[in-house]
C-alpha cells in the first residue's frame, strides 16, 4: 500500500498529472450536476447524441487543419444542442428518432470525412483517441486548465443561483410556465452548458464515453436518495470520487483514462444499487 502511495506521490510531481486531475475533477463535477436534470427530464439521449456531433465537428476541424479545434467544435455542438432540444419537444416529429438520426449520421460523416480528406498518417489512431479519449488528458495545457476552471465556476454559479428554478422546471414544466418562469430560457441554457461540457470532456474520456459521466452519477444517487437536493449533492460527490479513482488507477496500471473512469462509475452504480435495494427491503 505504501508503495502505491509513494508511486502516486512521485507522479504528482509532474505538472501534467496535476493538470489532468484538476480538469478531470472539474468536468466530472459539472457533468454530474447537469446530469441529474438531463436524466430526470428524459433527456439523457441528448448528451449521447451531442457527443457524436462533437466527434463529427472534431473531424471537420482536423480535415480543415484548424489550429484551434475549439473554435469550430464548440459552436457546432451548441447549435446541435439547441436543435435537439427543439425536436425533442416537438410532438409531431418523433423526437428520439430525430436525435438518434443526427447522432449516428454525424458519427458516420465524421469518420468518412477523416478517411477521404485526412492529412494525417495515422487515421485510426486519431479516430480512436477522439472516440475514447486516449492520452490527450495528459497533454493538457495551462490554457485548457484555465478554460475548465472558468467553465466550472460559471456552471456552479448558474446552478446555485437558479437551483430552485431548475428544480421547478425539471419537476413540472407546465406549472413552472404557468407561474411565470421562463422554462424555455432555462432549457436553452441547460442545452448550451451541456454542449460546452461535452466538448471539454472530449479530452478526458473521449466522445463515446461522455454520456457515462452524465448518466451514471445521477442514476446512482437516485438509487439511494429520495429528495432532489441530496440527489444533486450525492451525484456530484459520486462523480468526482469516481473520476479521481479512475484517473489514479489508470496512472498506476497504464490503462486508458476514459474507460477506466467509466468502469469505476459502473462499479459505483452497482454498489449504490445494492445499497438501495437493501435499504428498500428494510423500509418495506
Amino acid at each position: 500500500m505504501s508503495d502505491i502511495i509513494a508511486t502516486l506521490m512521485e507522479y504528482m510531481e509532474f505538472p501534467f498529472v496535476r493538470r489532468a486531475i484538476i480538469v478531470g475533477v472539474l468536468i466530472a463535477f459539472c457533468s454530474s450536476l447537469l446530469g441529474v436534470t438531463l436524466v430526470l427530464k428524459r433527456f439523457s439521449f441528448i448528451g449521447d447524441g451531442l457527443s457524436h456531433v462533437a466527434f463529427a465537428a472534431m473531424c471537420i476541424a482536423m480535415v480543415l487543419q484548424f489550429t484551434n479545434n475549439m473554435l469550430l467544435i464548440l459552436p457546432i455542438t451548441v447549435i446541435a444542442a439547441i436543435l435537439m432540444l427543439k425536436t425533442g419537444q416537438n410532438a409531431r416529429i418523433n423526437g428520439d428518432a430525430a436525435v438518434a438520426m443526427m447522432s449516428v449520421g454525424s458519427l458516420a460523416i465524421g469518420y468518412l470525412l477523416l478517411n477521404v480528406f485526412s492529412t494525417s498518417s495515422n487515421i485510426s489512431g486519431d479516430v480512436c483517441s477522439t472516440l475514447f479519449g486516449a492520452t490527450s488528458i495528459l497533454t493538457l495545457t495551462d490554457m485548457d486548465v484555465t478554460i475548465c476552471i472558468v467553465m466550472s465556476i460559471v456552471v456552479l454559479v448558474f446552478y446555485v443561483f437558479f437551483y430552485h428554478k431548475i428544480f421547478a422546471v425539471t419537476f413540472d414544466e407546465n406549472f413552472a410556465k404557468a407561474t411565470g418562469i421562463r422554462a424555455g430560457v432555462y432549457n436553452m441554457s441547460m442545452a448550451v452548458i451541456i454542449a460546452v461540457i461535452i466538448v471539454l470532456a472530449m479530452n478526458l474520456v473521449g466522445s463515446l464515453l461522455i454520456s457515462a459521466l452524465v448518466i451514471f452519477p445521477a442514476l446512482s444517487a437516485m438509487r439511494i436518495f429520495k429528495n432532489f437536493k441530496s440527489v444533486v449533492i450525492c451525484s456530484a460527490a459520486f462523480s468526482v470520487i469516481c473520476a479521481v479513482l479512475g484517473l489514479l488507477i489508470s496512472l498506476l496500471q497504464g490503462t486508458p483514462v476514459g474507460s477506466t473512469i467509466v468502469a469505476v462509475d459502473i462499479v459505483g452504480f452497482m454498489l449504490f444499487s445494492g445499497i438501495g435495494t437493501i435499504m428498500g427491503v428494510n423500509r418495506a
Binding site: F162, T179, F225
Partner: protein, 238 residues
C-alpha cells in the same frame, strides 16, 4: 369588476379553431366547473386562462388586481414526475417561485406559509417523504399545496381527481370545496376555483357556475340553469 372576463374568445391550435364565442365571467369566490367532451377544447381553454397560449380572437381580462402569476395551477401529472426523487417539502415550496423574481432562496415567510399549507392539506407529516413513494391521492394533495403557495386568489384545477379511487375522490372534492369557502377562524380567505372536469356529478354537487364547452359553448350562472338547459339534460342523463 369581475376577477376574470372572457369576451368573444375563440381558441384553437395550428390555425384550426376548436371553440368559438366563449363568453363568461368569474367573480371572486366563484366555483366554476368547465365541462365538455374530450377534445372539446377544455385543456386549450385552461392553457389560455393561464397565459400559456394567446386566444385566436377575443379578449381575456383579469380584474380586481389579479395578475397572471398570481393564479395557482394544479396540472395533470406527467410521466416525468412518477419516479422523481423530490421530497414533499421541496415540491410545495416551489410554488413560491412565481413571485421570488431573481432571489435564489426561499425566505422565512414563505417557509412558514408552506408549512401552513401542508398542515391544511394534511400532508405535513409526509414533508420529508419522497414524492414517488406517495399514493395517488397524497400526490394530488402535494400538488394542491404547491398551487396554494402560488396564489391567495384563484386556483385552476385540471382534472384534479383523474386516476383516484372513489373514496379519495370525495376527499379531494371536499378539500377543494373547503379551500373555495375559506375559513375565517383560521384567517383563510375564500379562493376562487376554476376546475376542468369530466365529472358532471361533482360539478353539480360542488360548483356554483358551469361552463359547457362544445361547438356552441354555453355558460350558466347557476347549476339549476344548467340542469334546465337542453345540453345539461343531455349530459346529466347519460
Amino acid at each position: 369588476m369581475s376577477l376574470l372576463t372572457c369576451e368573444n374568445v375563440s381558441l384553437g391550435y395550428e390555425g384550426k379553431t376548436v371553440v368559438e364565442n366563449l363568453n363568461f365571467t368569474v367573480e371572486s369566490g366563484d366555483y366554476l366547473c368547465i365541462l365538455g367532451e374530450n377534445g372539446s377544447g377544455k385543456s386549450t381553454l385552461m392553457k389560455t386562462l393561464l397565459g400559456l397560449k394567446t386566444p385566436m380572437s377575443g379578449a381575456i381580462t383579469l380584474g380586481d388586481g389579479l395578475k397572471h402569476n398570481e393564479i395557482g395551477y394544479l396540472p395533470q401529472q406527467t410521466i416525468v414526475q412518477r419516479d422523481f426523487p423530490a421530497s414533499v417539502k421541496e415540491i410545495v415550496l416551489s410554488g413560491f417561485l412565481n413571485h421570488s423574481g431573481l432571489r435564489p432562496f426561499y425566505n422565512k415567510e414563505e417557509k412558514q406559509l408552506a408549512k401552513d399549507n401542508m398542515k391544511r392539506l394534511g400532508i405535513y407529516d409526509l414533508r420529508k417523504s419522497c414524492y414517488r413513494d406517495l399514493s395517488g391521492g397524497q400526490q394530488q394533495r402535494v400538488l394542491l399545496a404547491r398551487a396554494l403557495c402560488a396564489t391567495t386568489k384563484m386556483l385552476l384545477l385540471d382534472e384534479p381527481v383523474a386516476g383516484l379511487d372513489p373514496k379519495v375522490t370525495i376527499e379531494m372534492y371536499e378539500l377543494i370545496s373547503s379551500i373555495n369557502k375559506g375559513n375565517s377562524s383560521e384567517n383563510k380567505e375564500p379562493i376562487t376555483i376554476i376546475m376542468v372536469s369530466h365529472d358532471v356529478q361533482a360539478a353539480l354537487n360542488y360548483a356554483t357556475k358551469i361552463l359547457h364547452v362544445s361547438d356552441t359553448p354555453e355558460f350558466f350562472e347557476s347549476k339549476e340553469a344548467y340542469l334546465d338547459s337542453k345540453i345539461g339534460k343531455q349530459f346529466t342523463n347519460v
